[in-house]
Symmetry: C2
Amino acid sequence: MSKPDALTALGEMLGDRLSRSKSDLDLHGRNETYFPFLPPDAVAYPETTDEVAQIVRICAAHGVPLIGWGRGTSLEGHALALQGGVTIDFSRMNRVLKVNSEDMDVVVQPGLTREDLNRELRATGLFFPVDPGANASLGGMASTRASGTTAVRYGTMRDNVLALEVVLPDGRVIRTGTRARKSSAGYDLTGLFVGSEGTLGLITELTLRLHGQPEAISAAVCAFDEIGAAVDTVIQTIQLGIPMARIEFVDAATAAAFNAYASADMPEKPHLMVEFHGSAAGVAEQTESFGEVVAENGGEGFKWSSRPEDRNALWTMRHNAYYACLGLRPGATALVTDMCVPISRLAEAVEETRADIAQASIPGPILGHVGDGNFHAILLVEPDNAAELAEAKALAHRMVERALRMGGTVTGEHGIGMGKLDYMEEEHGAAWDVMGQIKRALDPMTLMNPGKMVRAN
Amino acid sequence: MSKPDALTALGEMLGDRLSRSKSDLDLHGRNETYFPFLPPDAVAYPETTDEVAQIVRICAAHGVPLIGWGRGTSLEGHALALQGGVTIDFSRMNRVLKVNSEDMDVVVQPGLTREDLNRELRATGLFFPVDPGANASLGGMASTRASGTTAVRYGTMRDNVLALEVVLPDGRVIRTGTRARKSSAGYDLTGLFVGSEGTLGLITELTLRLHGQPEAISAAVCAFDEIGAAVDTVIQTIQLGIPMARIEFVDAATAAAFNAYASADMPEKPHLMVEFHGSAAGVAEQTESFGEVVAENGGEGFKWSSRPEDRNALWTMRHNAYYACLGLRPGATALVTDMCVPISRLAEAVEETRADIAQASIPGPILGHVGDGNFHAILLVEPDNAAELAEAKALAHRMVERALRMGGTVTGEHGIGMGKLDYMEEEHGAAWDVMGQIKRALDPMTLMNPGKMVRAN
């Protein structure tokens, strides 16, 4: 039982689809944010579920860790090889296997990206709504329980994965769920693997819910003097039952970043950016009703458009917010926070966070998915400036404490990875031990993404 | 370690809230359908989570089984005491603990019924939508992952439980989830306990999502010559993005039952019963669009109404369908099936089932939640007629096989209980073993609702 023997066996099986090249190890040891370089010993590029199962059996026989890799867009260092081992890169398993239009579902491989999926769906009248911003792989999105701008209307990955095929730590292949829309047949294993961050098994196939492309879409943007008025607008809109497809908050600093990066012409104030989906008449009515709520809350500059080019410009700007914010401090890297609270506490949470950042020496624009109570601060630090990173971590720590104090969660959508492990006990208490019991039951050798998610043995 | 010692200790702790009276044992050994009488040794009526935890610790110390009991409305014998033990009746834990209007959630105890919850919510402008027909307890509904007429719009219990408090088999009390709308913080334990049928722990508190009472509601009913045309109407309506709040199918036999039971005046043909929620203009538009789809598919007698009394009459009739069908055969009892398939296979599934029942000697009206691909046959048998029960079971068996052959599930909403255990391996394959691994990890002594859900050790 040794790692070299495992790598030899994998090399015999995969040929040049087992890579130990420096460039491959470098690529798979890096991450999008501030975590250190942690490369695997090798990168495997399987093409079938059977190959994944064989890889897992070889690694299990030799006690070698296994880490899944989609597109490397995680913000929390999920796919870093803390204990070395073999990274399974799913980029060659990236096909749409079956579109079931009548049932509004699709079967895909885990390496497919959400943008590629939607490109393939364009002619069907259907689309996959979950939109975390980055063009992530669908396997990765399932593994981190991703969401994004559209969760307020269409839900998160939890709500949009119908079934999975998973290779377990001992090489068994299971199917969880069916293509039926609902089921009461046993423990919800689909839900258990969604969000498990590769620590219980490797997802090799996903059945996803699709939604009809809306007949009409309108988008709107408006400014507020105070964060509280913006959040009140959101709460009232939800309570009126106006079905928003997207509702995004950006603070004054983010508006300034948009102005600089995208030549926007926004007052440097808190803004809401909103989108409605439905019939032409429905969208017009929703937009009008929303405009009334905006006016009641003192919002200004309310503009809406159903022209695709205007909408695209708006959401492209929003999707590039991370880069726009990085542009506020050229050369900087970012620590991105991800707190999520009950919406009644959101204004207070954002205000406290803004005041805290205002005391710090580093900038930190705030933006988020306000309909879900989820927001991010993009804390901009100089690379290799330990003092600034420490300051950013202290701010992030206080955001986490704030989230928990307000009845929320330490991560709304980015996941635990390496960045939030230290908060699991505080958020979950004894329930974290239950997660450990499940982990040990399914992965007794701790081969799957070791060092993540659960308490170390 | 003995059962008598456990009962003595429980009696000392609970006083007359530990009952061993014949009437109590009788009540808790009975079920709504065809399963045998299986009483517990005692019934406990706890009033707090701490009491539940104490009861569990006493039973665990003496190896005594524990079975949760809500309102006894299960159709699959979930709460029968297969191996005796103590039934925990949650009827004294039936309070609304906190309504959070701004956050649109509510914290409740497990013994509260859905009708009582909605009565308490009436003045808030909010409601809890999951509607399985029976006035079940919310703890029981979570435990069986219940759904019903409104799942097509509002989802099932899977989608509407935000967080749980659970007493584990060793007496530890955990909280799963928070009041945040979404989270990526760890394994989805809320989702694991929802649908676990009391085999992993006892739910002692639930945080539920609420929804705004719609501004306007309209309901409609229409008849079709063929089941296929009715189902095509549903598929096209979904694909057009018309947001139905309810869409129910009843077959000709059920229409006849309504005529006899509720003095309805329905042609003895397949029908759809549908409801729309939204703004006044939105509901009018949806109803009109739906009417066009109905006309294209040859539907007839399309009538709609937004008058509350008409709607109430319609849904009262639908909710009483079980009793209306029982009325087709006075003195009969029923075996109620629960298959759920991808909607593209639904017409075929219903047709095959109807043809199969037509060959049988017993009646079996068909009705269901057609927007989810879920339907039931109510197989009417004479009590104590073994030949008829065998015939009904054979029909039910073929429905299950049909569901699996068509890519569906053996139970859309009723759960496994005693009726579907024999199909778990066929539906889940090796994934059923994974459920067993989880069960053994959390309940190594098999104290929680033993004999249910997983393979016997």
